[in-house]
Amino acid sequence: MSAHSTSSPLKMYFAVFAALLVGTALTVFAARLDLGPLNAPVALGIATVKATLVALFFMHVWHASEKLTKLVVISALFFFLLLLGLTMSDYATRLWS
């Protein structure tokens, strides 16, 4: 970890920055294409890639020296997905009989 902090991370920051801008342009472009049922998954997929880049590299989760940080991030995601997953599985199956 200490070897990482001494080398300049600037190149990585600018690479992530460029990737985030490309991702934004890609989202706008993809929204104007007819992808059938895939429009929403593609938009959310790009957003998730962008959010992951921000968390891992700008918020330093990737190089976090404290493992508990990763545990907190993963448990926050887990409970958020639990909320969405259980709620949506209820609403998606109400018409089944």
Binding site: L10, L21, A31, D34, E66, T69, A76, L77, T87
Partner: protein, 231 residues
């Protein structure tokens, strides 16, 4: 003399209940991450409500979404991404004791934050003028559902979209305003030369907050602005 050579010189930036500076930094960022986990739940309830209604009233949501200027939203996404870059530059400047870069990055972050709120204000103004603000003067008559010519959106359902739009972007904007307050404080501290490579915890913690607010917007943009734009 013998004792002095074995006992490390106490770092003035290190609080007494921590063994070493790294542990102190880890504790601070871990605490911030726990707070951000509660923020995920805070926004999560709104995202969940949004998904339920979007599934029920998809056509109405698409029509309502189409009435928002997506280019303002796209510009704001780019503005926030630029501000996230200036925030990591500020953290790096604090780590490497670059005072000018630190102050410049903090000022730029704040300017980008104000630009975001200004663009958001233009967008809100459009919605007020078009009577798309939920309430007594709300109106969304004869708005076609994208891809269904001759079929009009239900104004009541569109009003639910705009309620979610204003609450979600409004809560996000409130976070931006609080973030600007935090960054003003960071700027004053940086100006006074309080931050050193050994101790710049507030910059790191404030940065985590700013990036989190950016991540929320990364999801809000496609969800609110880009429903069925191709139709």
């Amino acid at each position: 003399m013998h004792d002095n050579s074995t006992v490390a010189v106490h770092d003035p930036a290190l609080l007494h209940h921590f063994a070493e500076p790294q542990q102190q930094r880890d504790a601070a960022s871990l605490g911030m991450w726990v707070f951000l986990a509660t923020e995920v739940m805070f926004f999560g309830g709104l995202f969940c409500a949004y998904l339920v209604y979007r599934r029920w009233y998809f056509g109405d949501f698409a029509a309502a979404s189409k009435s928002i200027n997506m280019w303002l939203g796209a510009t704001n996404t780019a503005v926030l991404i630029c501000s996230s870059l200036t925030v990591v530059l500020a953290v790096w400047a604090a780590q490497t004791a670059r005072r000018t870069l630190l102050i410049g990055s903090l000022v730029l972050t704040m300017l980008l934050g104000f630009a975001f709120l200004g663009i958001k204000g233009i967008e809100y103004r459009d919605k007020f003028v078009e009577h798309h603000v939920p309430g007594a003067s709300f109106s969304f008559e004869h708005e076609e559902i994208p891809g269904h010519p001759g079929q009009y959106a239900n104004p009541q359902h569109a009003q639910i979209f705009f309620s979610l739009y204003f609450v979600m972007t409004g809560l996000h904007a409130l976070h931006m305003i609080i973030g600007l307050g935090i960054f003003l404080w960071l700027l004053i501290m940086a100006w006074k030369g309080r931050f050193t490579p050994e101790w710049h915890t507030p910059i790191e913690i404030g940065g985590l907050y700013w990036h989190f607010v950016d991540i929320v917007w990364i999801y809000l943009f496609p969800l609110l602005y880009l429903i069925d734009r191709h139709k």
